[in-house]
Symmetry: C2
Subunit: 600 residues, 2 copies
């Protein structure tokens, strides 16, 4: 009797794939995929982050890469269950390339591969010192010249950036810069993180006082040190700040706080950057080989221009500059915008006793936090998922295994269920006049985030205030002008105002490149973020991956890193390995460097 | 066919035990034990830490406790394997008492229980908020009066000790006080930790600069946040200091640093302590219900009195005051003692270029770190153990399951293997004149630690320096007197000295009670530590548990907490539950409060 368990089928599929790839039989390999099959690669085959869609793209990639990558040793991971559901068999595997070890996931039906995920895990000979290979700490024995850990650490801090130059400079020491810095430290890549604030975590601490993370703890772990099991579901901002500060300390990051990055120029001949920073009032010139902008996936604040902004006598600022509500008790506040920041600021102002009006200029998607946590993230990131053996790493890889081309299809049924579950809530919102949408194709929040990074609110309470009128809503009309003491809308409404908050979002990350490097470089690399889905604020053509994020750009040695905590954790692994490979002189033939269609 | 698997046998044994205990049938329960059977209880049955040895002690305990404790629901833990080896069946189980939930381990042979371990895990209605029950963090919804996490934390810090009184004051903010403080915080027991140093971790930082922990990382985890997998095997002291500091911060402990505890008095009528501390130069009076001394399992420094100490013109200090070697390059140093501190200090002085003599007054046990790590701790605390599914918690419970009466028998074969493995090393040591022993009964280091907390060196390199003469050794003669510039031994040897270090150990922890409270109370509670093994420095009678540690003492509301990181982690659970029960007014009938045989 034939053993036809899912595990055996995965074994068979991997054996065929491995044999074809090892033998360089590209046609044989391509024919193992369905015509509509996908291969998503994170750095292991492409030295890039690419999703190849369909047999022809897969063929083209293999023709370019196979000889150089030398894949081998495809084998099912015996520690993970293979499964079969609805005709789709899924499994996990390990593999090697000439220079590294990888981990992968595949789905197939009727014997043909539907989705393949290949990811680079480590570089041979440059493995992280962990587990059995962790450092000894004590140098047993005796040596009259040996230095203590503290002496060595102090020497490093005194010399790096002065006597010796870092391989990498990361501009921006929020969660993204910190997670990447930790990985680079473990890989032995000398790195300086440059951060304008005084302390790690200040980018959280300095925001409005009631802010808590909108994503739950299971989604938010940093690499190496997960949050403990008593950590709150939604981290209060200052607690998160303290965690990042301690993490930076115990992971021994070279974190230059109170340091402003003033400019960066790349020398094509010397192949190094000249980065000028100001630290403690003194200019210091750094000469890294690689420059990472981790200044937040949101770029510079978008502040709309309205007539009368110069005559308005009250206070006006962008949401990113909002100091919190305490000074506005009894004041009249007008908040322009209706996404996350707008809602959070409106609710905090209302709580503090201000009279608040939200000006909603276009429709917004709202998802209630508890529902989203259960239906959206729950299967991968929750206490239940942990109990079911879905570690954070596994959850990240499952999420990564779904091609962006298909992801909205995975999201739509979730949205349907959210709509059903919270039907009364959405009715009430609409009755209150709130303009609500479910995304261009009904795929909801995750796709809005991935496509445009905006256009939604995760409801942690403000929607009830909109519904019951505590937060006054003016929907469907844009701002016409400001007067000395009011905001006048295009429909003629005049809103008296002591305070105007522009919760109007951010530009693209390449705005930072324009500011720090040059407009020329910013235009050369083009816009960051977005999939090219041809939906609002995410114009085509289709890219299939986030533009410019965590992968090579049109500017040599310039990288962008950012996103939420999940992305900071997950993609920092692949960005760190790309940087490490370049440091060690390991060949990194990049396949399919992206074209630039949007200059930002 | 009968299923006679180990699991089934454990089921049967537990069913019988549970039935007898639930029915109050003491004889039936006692008869389930071998005549030489043991029952070790950590707080669940005895509200004490007790090992009952043999049927009569078990009977007496049950006669006293059974009606009050109301045990029930004994059931094998389905997540753990039951095993059988050499006729001994082992298994894990859960159970309940009237007020709590417990976890246990049992070993039996020929159907009779040989060892039983029962431990209290949590109190019903007072479970720690973790996993599914973790706090939400964000208070979703809206409330004009709500305070942010930061505001609440600041309010707590401003009020605790001033407006409100802590339930518990812990004197001593090293690893012990910090681990206990973390558990009490999670249990909602308001606690202040009083520490004389400026920063958490300073008790490590302030020691000699080459110090690294002598126990490996797997043995050293704190509760809640384990060290990451890249943590060094042997933590350098300053790195450990940083970890403790960040831990104190993110666990939100109320840690009063730079604060000196000056005195403590118990009011029997009010049933509260008056603890006077000096903080920032100001005296503050605290009124806790419970006082924990966590001032280090070592008590006050033992400084021997020698003739001529007053005329000696060099520097002389106790090892605990030793500033590190840097100032002694080219100087002549005499170190009195031959245990851990003596070796560490001698090696560091030699490395720094001092001329060092070790004065060994009595024999010492030496175990090489790598051998000890592999053979001694490896089966429970190592990367291999982790890979084999032995979590830190499980390792702690396996270690706890071995009655102290038998533990030396488990240790002897390990020592034999160490002796065989490192035969040349021990030969060389003896050839160098070093007086070496294996403990009173050949049971080596672990038993010396548990019995007397001294008498050994974990070799991390100094022994080679003794062997090759780099560290000069004078063994077998005590000090006669000091002159202006030398140490004269009883055998007439004169050792020129610029520096004398007294690595002569510490007194008992109840010395701290004498200093802070009164001699009367110190004598009432008696000596801390030691099993009563009737071996050197651990006089009988047999106690079966560490004297006064982590359990009620003869002084109401006075507790001692200390030991290595393993003990701080493991026993803080049981001490915290005892303190929580008292706070909540849960009955805590203490069985077998220890007698005092040694006043310290």
């Amino acid at each position: 009797m034939l053993d036809d368990s899912p595990g055996t089928r995965v074994d068979t599929a991997l054996a065929k794939l491995g044999k074809a790839l090892e033998a360089g039989e590209i046609d044989a390999a391509v024919n193992l995929f369905r015509p509509d099959g996908f291969w998503r690669d994170l750095v292991s085959f492409t030295w890039n982050i690419r999703t190849l869609e369909g047999q022809e793209q897969i063929r083209a990639m293999l023709q370019s890469q196979l000889a150089a990558i030398k894949p081998s040793h495809f084998a099912r991971d015996p520690k993970e269950q293979s499964t079969e559901q609805g005709g789709v068999t899924e499994g996990w595997f390990t593999f090697e390339t000439g220079v590294g070890r990888g981990y992968g996931h595949l789905r197939f039906r009727n014997g043909l591969i539907w989705t393949l995920l290949t990811t680079l895990d480590e570089l041979k000979g440059h493995e992280e010192p962990k587990g059995l290979a962790r450092p000894m700490g004590a140098e047993h024995g005796h040596d009259r010249e040996r230095k203590s850990w503290k002496e060595k650490r102090e020497q490093e801090q005194a010399e790096l950036g002065f006597v010796t130059q870092p391989e990498v400079v990361i501009v921006g020491g929020g969660q993204g810069g910190i997670a990447l810095g930790a990985r680079l430290r473990q890989l032995g890549v000398p790195t300086i993180i440059v951060e304008k604030n005084e302390r790690p975590g200040d980018s959280w601490r300095k925001r409005y006082k009631s802010l808590c993370l909108h994503d739950p703890v299971w989604y938010d772990h940093l690499p190496y040190i997960p949050f403990p099991e008593n950590w709150p579901v939604f981290s209060p901002k200052d607690k998160m700040g303290d965690w990042l500060e301690m993490y930076t300390k115990v992971m021994e990051l070279n974190y230059w706080s109170s340091t402003l990055c003033k400019s960066a120029r790349y020398d094509d001949k010397a192949r190094e950057w000249t980065v000028i920073v100001e630290r403690d009032g003194k200019e210091i010139v750094l000469k890294p080989k690689q420059l990472v902008l981790a200044t937040g996936m949101s770029g510079r604040p978008n502040i709309p221009k309205f007539e009368g902004q110069d005559v308005f006598k009250g206070e006006q600022h962008h949401s990113s500059q909002h100091p919190g509500p305490d000074a506005y008790r009894g004041k009249k506040a007008v908040v322009i915008g209706s996404n996350n920041s707008a809602h959070d600021i409106c609710a905090a102002l209302w709580e503090a006793g201000a009279e608040v009006t939200m000006v909603q200029r276009s429709s917004t998607h709202v998802a209630r936090s508890a529902t989203l946590m259960e239906l959206g993230l729950g299967p991968l990131y929750s206490e239940q998922a942990v109990a079911a053996g879905i570690t954070t790493r596994k959850a990240d890889l499952i999420f990564a295994s779904i091609p962006y081309r298909l992801m909205h299809e995975f999201q739509m049924p979730v949205q349907k269920e959210i709509k059903r579950r919270d039907a009364k809530f959405y009715d009430d919102l609409e009755k209150a006049g709130f303009l609500h949408d479910w995304g261009a194709d009904g795929s909801g929040l995750t796709m809005k985030y991935l496509r445009r990074g905006s256009g939604y609110y995760i409801d942690v309470g403000a929607s009830d205030l909109v519904i019951d009128g505590s937060i006054r809503l003016k929907a469907g009309s844009d701002v016409e002008r400001l007067t000395e003491n009011s905001v006048v809308l295009k429909d003629g409404t005049e809103l008296p105002a002591d305070l105007v908050v522009y919760a109007t979002g951010y530009g693209s990350m390449n705005g930072w490149a324009a500011e720090l490097i040059s407009n020329e470089v910013a235009e050369k690399v083009g816009k960051c973020w977005g999939l090219g889905s041809d939906t609002p604020k995410d114009p085509g053509p289709w890219e299939g991956e986030e533009r410019n994020m965590w992968k090579p750009t049109q500017q040599e040695a310039l990288w962008f890193h950012g996103g939420n905590l999940h992305q900071s954790r997950h993609y920092s692994q692949f960005l760190a390995l790309q940087l490490k490979a370049r440091k060690e002189g390991i060949p990194t033939p990049v396949y399919g460097l992206q074209e630039v269609y949007h200059k930002g």
